[in-house]
């Protein structure tokens, strides 16, 4: 192994602006051509020789006990290779859609027939699936301890204006377009090959080892591409383990189980609902002094934890209570910026209502109190000003309630958000081959965020090579381990590890090449495909020629995060504004325009960073206006586990979107900060505020469906009171 520790000389910093050829530029993603041509293979696309189709029988009841389970007819069917009960007689089912039996057969139609031939009898038990009223939840509602800071009672007495409101958002699902699933095969007694749709390539083997009874080192995990995750794909899940067991039963033949769309929406991903009554108090000049909230919500089982309230702005004097409700509606999973969109809505909507009560522009109210945002107050102030210009806020804002005639009312809303996003633990190996080609290996995954491209950019820029010279290999747990892609930790982790690896490689390389150029190693730099003496470009050698000095052996070095130097920090800040039209006759809300102004430290790929923001705004429009996991209290089942009635925003629904990324010395200095979560936090609040501004009343809950808008208009809404 030509692997060596870093030479201590290396200075682990990002290059200065003038030395960046690729970092921060608009680079097309390296896997784009594979994705647009259909060549990119996702887990769902893996076809292995002799592969069997796996299917799962899901329980139709929200809560039940299994009293009879007969799989004999399925077992006898021709073409059925394995039948695996996942529950036994006596087991209690806690949500509709839970997995009861898995089968593997020669093809999908046969597997479906086998599922239909299984007989299960259930004793139905009382269920509960409603989340909007904690009183109705009885003993399923568990209050957590009250949190108090300062003296909220005195502060509310002192407050000259108090706004009070009810706000909340429904359970929504992840609805990854590639469903959860895996293709698993036994390659002999004791070793398993797993293709799986996952956000955590390095983490899967460890989670499968116990249930399968094989050492984690014998479990090979692969994933070329993944069709969405959004926080829902970190484990092998019961269906991944079932695929492995079925394969073993079928003599090692590969078994593919991909969830059908209904199961995907019922059990494979849900963001918890949160609702809350909020009071917020201020001085007549808008100074925020008091906060009180009582919140509740659920994602099913297990129940939810309290929200980070008030959000971003640390209002002095607070009292917070939270009630966790357990319902028979499936398991909750982390959904892009867990807890933040909910906390953001509850806070920003309450502040917006307070602004209305104060007869103040909410933008001014935010600016007045922005010091409460703490260390990033200046960033927010700058961003609010830029967003206001891009939205022409001052010209177009009007007090609550669009006075213009006609049924179409227009309004503006604003919100601010944050997210830590510090780079995760990550290792990568970088190999320079004697022919000059460069290979980077790490067990990360590209969720669609552009991870592959970011790694290639960092390495190519550091080595002074074109992007095409670097081959990035990810998605295989035989490569050095990298953290799971959650919490916006990937870009910081992989880019820092890649930068360190490339700098380490250069150190070793310079030591070998220096004598050729009659220079000391620390006088050299890599630039434009050559190694040259700093300040004397006439003394240089082409990259390939330099590589020929490797004595025919590839040079492999390791880069690691965390490691020396401050390449990544935490804490992104962002601002969003929405401009909406509401038809008060039909209740339909349309997005005219949204503006996002976002900071994420040093930007590696401007094109991908902007895409992240556009995508987040669109996902935000989607959950603000359309998405809802609708549960039927009578049957306890989800009423819309499909894509006709579980509605995602389409091309027609998004309006004009404007993204402005904060750049410059001040931001670069902070190093790389993750961007996946932050821009998805504010849309719900900004859109809700814009709707209130348009129609003069608050629509308390998201999604802002026509029905809810009309109801709020009829009741006069739950709006601010002085």
């Amino acid at each position: 192994m030509a692997e060596r520790e870093a030479v201590e000389m290396a200075e682990y910093k990002w290059p200065e602006p003038g030395q960046r050829r690729l970092i921060g530029k608009r680079v097309s993603r390296v896997d784009g051509p594979d994705k647009v041509s259909g060549r990119a293979k996702y887990t769902y696309d893996v076809n292995r020789p002799g592969m069997l189709a796996g299917k799962i029988l899901h329980c139709p009841h929200a809560r039940a006990r299994i009293v009879r389970l007969d799989t004999s007819a399925a077992e006898k069917m021709p073409g059925v290779k394995a039948v695996l009960p996942l529950k036994k007689v006596g087991d209690e089912i806690l949500w509709a859609g839970d997995e009861v039996v898995a089968v593997a057969a020669v093809d999908e139609p046969t597997a479906e027939d086998a599922i239909r031939a299984i007989v299960v009898e259930y004793e139905k038990l009382p269920h509960f699936v409603l989340d909007t009223d904690p009183k109705a939840a009885g003993e399923r509602a568990r209050p957590t301890a009250e949190q108090i800071e300062g003296d909220p009672d005195a502060a509310f007495r002192e407050a000259e204006v108090v706004a009070e409101g009810l706000y909340g958002m429904s359970v929504i699902t992840h609805c990854c377009l590639e469903p959860h699933g895996a293709v698993v095969e036994w390659e002999g007694e004791n070793s398993v090959l797993v293709h799986i749709s996952t956000q955590a390539v390095s983490g899967i083997a460890g989670q499968m080892a116990g249930p399968l009874g094989v050492p984690a080192g014998n479990i090979r995990v692969k994933q070329e591409h993944i069709g969405g995750g959004f926080g829902s794909k970190f484990g092998p899940d019961s269906w991944g383990i079932a695929a492995a067991r079925l394969s073993k039963m079928a003599g090692g033949r590969p078994v593919k189980i991909m969830l059908e769309r209904d199961a995907e929406l019922m059990v494979a991903g849900a963001r918890p609902s949160y609702y809350g009554r909020v009071r917020v108090g201020a001085k007549r000049d808008g100074t925020l002094i008091a906060w009180e909230s009582e919140t509740w919500g659920t994602g099913g089982i297990p129940p939810t934890s309290p929200l980070p309230l008030p959000y971003v702005l640390r209002i002095p004097n607070q009292r917070k209570r939270h009630i966790a409700i357990a319902t028979n509606s499936g398991p909750a999973r982390a959904w892009r910026a867990p807890l933040h969109p909910q906390a953001c809505l509850l806070t920003m909507a309450a502040i917006d209502d307070l602004a209305a009560a104060l007869r103040m522009d909410p933008l001014d109210l935010l600016l007045k109190n922005i010091e409460l945002a703490g260390e990033r107050a200046d960033v927010y102030r700058e961003e609010l000003q830029i967003a206001a210009e891009l939205m022409e806020w001052k010209k177009r804002w009007h007090p609550r309630g669009d006075p213009s005639p006609g049924p179409i009312k227009r309004g503006l809303g604003v919100s601010i958000h944050t997210w830590p996003g510090r780079g995760h633990a990550c290792r990568c190996d970088l190999t320079i081959h004697p022919d000059g080609s460069v290979e980077v290996k790490l067990a990360s995954q590209d969720l669609g965020t552009g991870t592959r491209t970011a790694i290639a950019i960092v390495v190519a820029d550091t080595l002074g090579l074109p992007l095409e010279a670097v081959r990035v290999r990810i998605g295989d747990n035989q490569y050095p381990p990298a953290g799971g892609s959650g919490g916006s930790t990937t870009i910081g982790g992989v880019s820092s590890a890649a930068r360190r690896a490339a700098l380490n490689a250069l150190d070793q390389f310079f030591a070998r090449v220096a004598p050729l150029l009659n220079a000391a190693p620390d006088q050299l730099e890599a630039w434009d495909g050559r190694i040259r003496v700093k300040g004397d470009p006439s003394r240089s050698i082409a990259w390939e020629q330099a590589c020929a000095r490797l004595d025919g052996m590839p040079l492999t070095v390791r880069g690691e995060n965390p490691g020396p130097g401050e390449l990544t920090t935490a804490g992104a800040a962002g601002v969003q504004m929405a401009d909406v039209s509401v038809d008060i006759e039909t209740g339909i809300v349309r997005i005219n325009k949204m503006v996002a102004v976002q900071d994420c430290g040093l930007i590696i790929n401007m094109k991908a960073a902007e895409s992240q923001c556009y995508g987040a705004m669109i996902m935000g429009i989607s959950y603000a206006l359309y998405e809802e996991k609708i549960m039927d209290p009578v049957t306890g089942r989800m009423l819309n586990p499909n894509m006709e009635f579980y509605k995602l925003a389409g091309l027609a629904d998004i309006g004009e979107l404007v993204v402005h990324m904060m750049t410059g010395e001040k931001y670069d200095r902070r190093g790389v900060i993750g961007l996946g979560e932050p821009p998805v936090v504010s849309p719900g609040a900004a859109i809700s505020n814009a709707v209130a501004n348009a129609i003069g009343v608050r629509v308390p809950f998201l999604p802002l469906t026509p029905e809810r808008v009309l109801e709020a208009l009829k009741k006069g809404g739950s709006h601010a009171r002085v």
Binding site: D31, Y42, G615, E644, G650, I654
Partner: protein
Amino acid sequence: MEKQPSKPGSLSRRDFLKVSGITLTVPLVVGPRVLKVAGAEVKVFGPGKVPMTFTINGKTYRAELEPRVTLLDALRNEFDLTGAKRVCDRGTCGACTVLLDGKPVYACSVLAIEAQGRAITTVEGLMQDGKLHPIQQAFVENDALQCGFCTPGFVVACKALLDRIPNPTPEDLVAGLGGNLCRCGTYVGIRAAIAQAARMQRGG
């Protein structure tokens, strides 16, 4: 089985006799039965496997499939043409979009047996001589993709749209691509990509 009828429901009695003649000489292959429905003879296939022949991206493909198998599953599972994706499996999301005689269809909502004798174009068929189609190139350049799972469906739907309307208005875009959904939120890039591809097709 070379002479499958070009359109479903257009079988003549002669076609049927030819087909069933083959069935008699090849007893293992289950041929169609004929039922009289409202005075007309209707061919009934299955429930077992039936031999089928397809023309996909200009090439001939053969398989034995149950009549209930969709075109999407046949493409993906029998011929390893996995560009078209299965997402909703019921004609809502567009991820499975392919061209049938040049028209965009949801491959999850067409039975394989019905697609015989028609020109099937999948996303894999759009590249020419190893070069991306201008629409594909425009998708890459405008970052009209993130995870990429919806992308092949969008690319094919865009191709169909630009073939029909070389210079689409925003309303045409909504009509032409309204049947395709993306969870990652790439619509801004897709709008830009279509505009670029349209410009390029006009020779701009």
